[in-house]
Amino acid sequence: MTAALTWARLSYRQQRWELILAAIGVGIVAAVMLFFANELRGLQAAGPDCVGLFDYPPSCEAIATRFAETSDTAQRLLLLSFAAPFGMGVILGAPLVAREIEGGTVQLAWTLGRSRVGWLLRRITFVALVTVALLAVLALSSELLAAALAPDRSLGEDFLWSGRRGWLIVARGVGALGVGILVGAVVGRVLPAILGAALIMALGFTAISMGQDAVLRNEVEPQRVAMGNASGGVDPGALVIDFGLELPGGEVVTWQEAQERGLIAAVIDEEGRQFASAADMRAGRVLGYDIQLTIPGSQYLPVAAREAGVVTGLGLVALVGTALVVSRRRPA
């Protein structure tokens, strides 16, 4: 217990301002999210038939308008929960080892201790726990806000605001923290480490998104889109990966592939059937059916869990990399 307190005290005093900034930031955002969630739930309770519908009775005008306005602001808050894990990875992760190298305190720590890796693990623990705790607060409050924003949807089976709510935020935070610490250990100076970590995280997130997109393309399920249906007849919780055509023979092609084959649709009917021209439509020569290539909403949890596993694993790999850097690095 004494040992844990000593390391917590050291870690806190080394990164006091970043930790306070992160805690205040998360506290404010979470509080505002809960406030908006409460507001939205109140509006929903005041007029259960007035929210979440395209058509509502005239008596609902005031409540529906208020709900829509509150929703607009609340949805912007969810952008903060998207950015938070990366921001925390940068401001808490990058300076963690970099400040010790820059300030020369690693000389003291590394010569007193028998194992640099042991020092690193103890040095990281407090900041990692704080990061996870703060992001868990944000994950919970963002999930509650999302549930209030979309009361008619089951968010456990819905890709709506994926990555901006729920436990994926915590996993991304662990990954970002690991990358930030690694960059700090390599660079060895706080400001360049912060800038470098921000850049690497932006590139890394783009790469992971592209990788995930490539993987999901192999798992898509085509869903026909019917224009006469308000929701298009598709699963509203699905993740849309691409759009395309289902050819009369059953083959599914994306719009890009269709264009490459010269299959240019010009007319579409209410059932989502595509025709090359009005004459073809009159003649009943169907080019194909309008489709969306989607991951069904029921796959939300497995897909989110897979991404969480990848980014958490990335964070752990980054920590192993940090251990190697720290083991071999000259202290100054």
Partner: protein, 206 residues
């Protein structure tokens, strides 16, 4: 292997970087956590004897006090070998003297070996048993301080067979010779002579 070697080493850097925001006592706690067997009570006693307040933020101490804290941390490891990398460079004469007294007392009491790197030759003469002169990446001289003083003499002007000829404080050439000369060399002149020899003829080992 680095790790087994570290267990036998205590280290004091040239500019001891203590943790900002941590008190001296916190540093002792930190050392206890990092180094099993760290002798906290001995370190406390040493700091108390020097009048260094243990509750004070370590970075608010004077340079001499910070050096003493770094020394107390290194001595607290009870390592048989202490490496001191120019710890005196930024200290005033009084702080330097106190530092060396503490070091000498501790080394005598613990039976440890201290390897002190310093450019201040008078300190070396007063506190060290052996002298190692390093230059151009090599050991130019390694012997007991008393032997070095007995063996070397100074002769004015350039002398054949001298270790080297170098400018004295007044600018006149002096030669450091092994054996008979006009007068015994000071330790500073011994060091100057071997450093000059290293520069003039880097291939010739003394």
């Amino acid at each position: 292997m680095i790790v087994p070697a570290l267990e036998h080493l205590g280290y004091v850097p040239q500019s001891p970087a203590l943790y900002d925001g941590l008190s001296v006592e916190d540093h002792l706690d930190f050392a206890v956590q990092l180094r099993p067997g760290f002798d906290r009570s001995a370190a406390r006693t040493r700091l108390d004897q020097l009048g260094i307040p243990r509750g004070t933020g370590a970075r608010s101490l004077s340079g001499g006090q910070q050096a003493q804290v770094a020394l107390a941390l290194a001595l607290g490891t009870r390592a048989p070998i202490l490496l001191l990398d120019e710890p005196l460079a930024s200290l005033d004469p009084l702080a330097r003297r106190e530092f060396l007294h503490v070091l000498a007392d501790a080394v005598r009491a613990d039976g440890a070996t201290a390897l002190l790197s310093s450019h201040i030759v008078t300190d070396v003469e007063q506190f060290c048993d052996r002298l190692v002169v390093l230059g151009v990446g090599r050991v130019l001289l390694h012997e007991r301080v008393t032997a070095a003083l007995q063996r070397h003499h100074i002769t004015p002007g350039a002398v054949n067979g001298a270790v080297s000829t170098f400018a004295a404080a007044d600018g006149a050439p002096n030669s450091l010779v092994v054996g008979v000369g006009q007068r015994p060399a000071t330790l500073e002149e011994v060091v100057l002579g071997y450093l000059a020899a290293g520069r003039v003829a880097p291939k010739v080992a003394a």
